[in-house]
């Protein structure tokens, strides 16, 4: 039993490290794909790693008005996001964290990271930090109800809120309640775009003051703190992509207590899916323009509507009404 526990622990640790390591690559792929499609050379695939290393080596300048919260936030944000990423079944569904928390807790963990980031943005006391924080929180108020509806749909379909459980269910019967799944897939993609500050909600590449959201909050960060924040956002991207994968394309995922072999297969499958997902994101991002901040309710509203439709259809297909 204890041996088993050790194996579990190691597997979990391996997953965490792997997620951490692959995250910048995913970002690199997104950037690369965008550049290519824009007929540009684009940065090397590993650019994200170089950036992080560079930032780590640089000294970090901290505003006089900053408090301890400003300095400790990056570490906490990074840790929270990392643990959250570890909660999502990536290549195997039976890892120990999958027993520790369900999707509601996952969303809440990300919420905690977001709140810390917003607070850090206000700590220095500049106008831009405030802009970023207020808009970030506003976007969150739009995204979370949609997320809740998606969770509800999945729970109706799979009868559990544990991601691993949901994944197992969909591996078992891949074609349950298709329509509502399709709808909630769209909804979840929109939510993911909003949460990761991607186009059209936010442009990770821009530093044009009035359109910034995420970048505005981290404006005062530099050096290792900035590196941690960047790494955290990379992790978040991977997290959402693998969330989409595990919910809507779980095939190939290793079931609970599968051996090392099973894990290897699952790992390969997951990495491929992840990279494809990143590429698709790149394609999407060049094919659409950034929206005005106050158009966002309409955009994220789509996610809400689809989420709601998904539930109603789920009622029908599950015959709750009968």
């Amino acid at each position: 039993m204890t041996g088993d526990l050790v194996v579990q622990f190691l597997a979990q640790g391996a997953q965490m490290t792997f997620v951490l390591l692959i995250a910048p690559l995913a970002v690199g792929i997104v950037r690369r794909v965008k550049a290519r499609l824009m007929r540009r050379q684009g940065p090397p695939l590993l650019q994200a790693y170089f950036d992080l290393a560079k930032l780590l080596r640089k000294e970090s300048v901290i505003a006089e008005t900053a408090s301890w919260l400003f300095r400790s936030a990056p570490y906490l944000i990074f840790a929270l996001t990392w643990v959250a990423a570890a909660l999502v079944p990536s290549f195997a569904s039976g890892l120990m964290f999958n027993w520790a928390a369900d999707v509601v807790a996952l969303v809440a963990l990300l919420g905690a990271a977001r709140a810390l980031l917003a607070l850090a943005g206000m700590d220095v006391g500049t106008s831009f930090g405030g802009i970023g924080s207020s808009r970030e929180m506003m976007i969150a108020t739009l995204a979370e109800p949609a997320m809740m509806l998606i969770v509800l749909t999945l729970a109706i379909a799979a009868g559990t809120t544990r991601l691993a459980g949901v994944a197992d269910f969909f591996i078992a019967e891949p074609f349950a309640v298709r329509v509502s799944l399709a709808l909630s897939l769209i909804a979840l993609i929109i939510v993911a775009l909003a949460e990761n500050a991607r186009i059209p909600v936010d442009n990770p590449a821009t530093h044009l003051e009035l359109t910034m959201v995420h970048e505005a909050m981290v404006l005062e960060y530099s050096g290792r703190h900035l590196a941690l924040i960047e790494a955290a956002s990379h992790l978040k991207l991977v997290l959402y992509i693998s969330l989409l994968i595990c919910l809507f394309a779980p095939f190939g995922m290793a079931p609970a207590n599968a051996g090392v072999a099973g894990w290897a297969i699952g790992l390969a499958a997951w990495s491929v899916k992840l990279l494809i997902g990143a590429a698709l994101l790149g394609v999407w991002e060049i094919s659409i323009a950034k929206m005005r901040v106050f158009r966002l309710p309409d955009f994220v509203g789509i996610a809400f509507v689809f989420g709601f439709l998904a539930i109603l259809l789920a009622f029908l297909t599950r015959g709750v009404l009968a």
Partner: protein
């Protein structure tokens, strides 16, 4: 039984303290808060003992309502709420010890504080309608006097007036509720009521009345408008009691009536609490996120939490009516745990607000800022409270939210179409409320404690006395522990859950770890706060180590970057109002018909441009201002009857006589 004696003694001590405090003056009054603290400890200990051992105690005294007598009963439910209340009282008393008796207006507060505490405890152990309403009204009365403590301020007088009138309306509703329960025969003792629960028609009326009565005390929309006036008007430690604790007494009243006295529920009973609760949750936070007064924001957030609790109670009713006892247990556990958690973090936040008020003399967020440097300890405690109030893990606020979401997720399994179609809407509204709560408290903390001071007072602030820090620190600790060990608290609720909804949560240990909080069964939903917290801690520690190993540890302090044009004036910071702007744009127009107007002077004119926002509180307009005007208008019209001539009065008399005679003539 000894339990009741002990609490009786403690209550007597409180009453005696109140009486003495009215009679004596001067330094002796300094003893009031210590005495209250001791009494609270005794009462809390008794409650804890009863809750853990299930040693239910009853007593009957030949006083109170004639021929019925005074019935007292301390069962698990009362004991649980007793713990909530006395925890709050203890914290508030400890905080009160730190007052500078020269400055604060203690003579108007100290006699009533113990009375308030005693009345709230009395409500819980009352076991007949008369004793219940007696102590309920006493509670309102004491808190009214505390609200109006700063009596020279017309605002607090107005607040007190609105408050007590609303309290009277609520009491009328409860009178009706108990009238319906007791029936024409007047069986006012709860045992009698339990023995003969009312028929369905009466039960519906009673439920409505109870919802009005307890809802008005708890701040359920649309009966909430008094709360943001009254709670902030009181001295801060009293605000903590009113917001953190007294609202829970209202919840207790509803639980006692709806789950205990009213007999087996019909499924549709669930709808009013669920719908009103969800509305309350969202609306309360929309108010909160747009308001600029620190204490009022907290009061609005109380409204939101009461709404959340009512949603949970409604769900529990629905599940119970459909015999889905496990789900009912989840919902009920969510409600009760949220009662406990909210009492902790809201008391903490109000005490923190009191500390800010004491240090700066200001409550307006736009006048504060940078307090994290001036009052470091308070800042830490307030941060804990704020994060807990935003329902973020691993703090206690999230535990109950998590359970509630599990209950909502189970709602689609309910057979009634109305309920399972409501479930997604409820879930979305609760999620919106949670997100808004996060926004609200980021806003509050960011403007009050972070950034740069926006006023001289904020710049010269200093931390509060140690004893007050202890009060806040204790509550902060509870918020953290409650977040980590929520599962154990849920276990302690088991007897109540079995009493009220016929099932309890799965026992601890059936999950992966002992501390795992489990809804339904481990395979379905698990939240293991300690494990997560543990891993977050490890992760952050490793990060710190690794980063410090890899990185150049050089750190330089410099001016803020601010995109290259930093402005030294703190006026350039984001204020609470500007933080609220996006949310106001998105939600305000719908909820409050928010309108923004910019007056731009013509070119060459040196006047500054003026920006103004207009918010309309429809509820206040429709349900408070309009009736008030109607009463006054009608009274003015009727007042002409005071100035008639004697002959006209004779005409009235004659008319009355002739009308009655005519009636007698036609009736056979």
């Amino acid at each position: 039984m000894p339990g009741l004696y002990a609490s009786g003694a403690a209550l007597g001590a409180l009453a005696a303290t109140a009486l003495l405090a009215t009679l004596v003056r001067g330094g002796a009054l300094a003893l009031v808060y210590p005495l209250c603290a001791v009494a609270a400890i005794v009462l809390g200990a008794v409650d804890l003992h009863v809750l853990l051992t299930g040693a239910e105690a009853t007593a009957q005294l030949p006083i109170g309502l004639p021929t019925v007598g005074l019935h007292l009963r301390l069962d698990a439910l009362s004991a649980f709420f007793g713990i909530v209340i006395n925890g709050g009282v203890l914290a508030a008393s400890v905080y009160g010890m730190g007052f500078d008796r020269a400055k604060e207006l203690t003579p108007r507060v100290e006699p009533l504080f113990p009375l308030f505490a005693a009345a709230m405890n009395l409500v819980l152990i009352a076991d007949d309608a008369y004793a219940f309403l007696f102590s309920w009204e006493l509670m309102s009365l004491a808190s009214w006097a505390l609200v109006v403590a700063r009596h020279t301020d017309p605002e607090s007088r107005r607040a007190a007036h609105v408050y007590l009138v609303m309290a009277a309306i609520g009491t009328m509703a409860l009178l009706f509720a108990f009238g319906g329960l007791a029936g024409p025969a007047g069986g006012y003792a709860f045992d009698t009521i339990r023995a003969h629960p009312p028929g369905p028609a009466v039960a519906a009326l009673v439920l409505a009345a109870a919802l009005v009565g307890c809802g008005s005390k708890g701040g359920l929309v649309p009966l909430h408008a008094w709360l943001p006036l009254a709670h902030p008007a009181a001295p801060s430690h009293v605000s903590a009691l009113m917001s953190g604790v007294m609202t829970k007494v209202a919840i207790y009243g509803f639980v006692r009536i709806a789950f205990d006295l009213l007999g087996p529920p019909a499924w549709w009973w669930a709808l009013p609490p669920i719908i009103l609760g969800a509305l309350t949750a969202v609306l309360g936070l929309l108010y909160a996120v747009l308001d600029r007064d620190l204490k009022r924001v907290l009061a609005y957030s109380t409204i939101e939490n009461v709404g959340v609790i009512f949603v949970a109670l409604g769900l529990a009713l629905a599940f119970r009516a459909n015999g889905q006892h496990e789900a009912a247990a989840v919902a009920m556990a969510a409600a009760l745990l949220h009662v406990l958690n909210h009492s902790w973090f809201k008391s903490l936040l109000f005490l923190g607000a009191g500390a800010v008020l004491h240090a700066t003399g200001r409550r307006d967020l736009d006048g504060l800022g940078g307090l994290i440097h001036r009052m470091p300890r308070t800042a830490v405690f307030f941060l804990v409270g704020a994060l807990a109030a935003s329902a973020l893990p691993p703090l206690n606020g999230f535990v109950s939210e998590w359970l509630l979401f599990q209950a909502v997720i189970a709602a689609p399994a309910l057979p009634q179409a109305a309920l399972h179609f409501a479930s997604p809407a409820i879930g979305a509204m609760l999620a919106l409320a949670a997100a808004l709560a996060a926004a609200c408290f980021v806003r509050v903390y960011g403007t009050a404690f972070l950034g740069r001071p926006r006023s001289v007072e904020a710049n010269q602030a200093h931390d509060v006395p140690l004893v007050q820090q202890i009060a806040m620190g204790g509550l902060a600790l509870l918020c953290i522990l409650g977040g980590l060990l929520g599962s154990l608290l849920a276990m302690a609720l088991a007897p109540i859950l079995v009493d009220l909804v016929g099932a309890a949560l799965p026992p601890a240990g059936s999950g992966p770890t002992v501390f795992a909080l489990i809804a339904f069964d481990p395979a379905r939903s698990v939240y293991d706060a300690p494990v997560i917290a543990f891993f977050v801690a490890i992760a952050s520690l490793t990060t710190v180590l690794v980063v410090h190993r890899l990185s150049a540890r050089r750190t330089r302090r410099g001016p803020a970057w601010d995109c290259g044009f930093p402005d030294p004036s703190p006026a350039t910071q984001y204020t609470a109002s500007s933080f609220a702007q996006p949310l106001r744009r998105v939600y305000g127009t719908a909820a409050f018909a928010a309108r923004e107007t910019v007056v731009m002077p013509p070119p060459g004119d040196t006047r500054p441009a003026r920006f103004s926002v207009v918010l309309v509180d429809h509820v206040w307009q429709a349900l408070y201002a309009a009736p008030g005007r109607a009463v006054l208008g009608l009274s003015e019209r009727l007042n002409t009857l005071q100035f008639l001539s004697i002959r006209r009065y004779l005409v009235l008399m004659f008319a009355a006589l002739v009308i009655l005679l005519a009636i007698a003539a036609v009736t056979t």
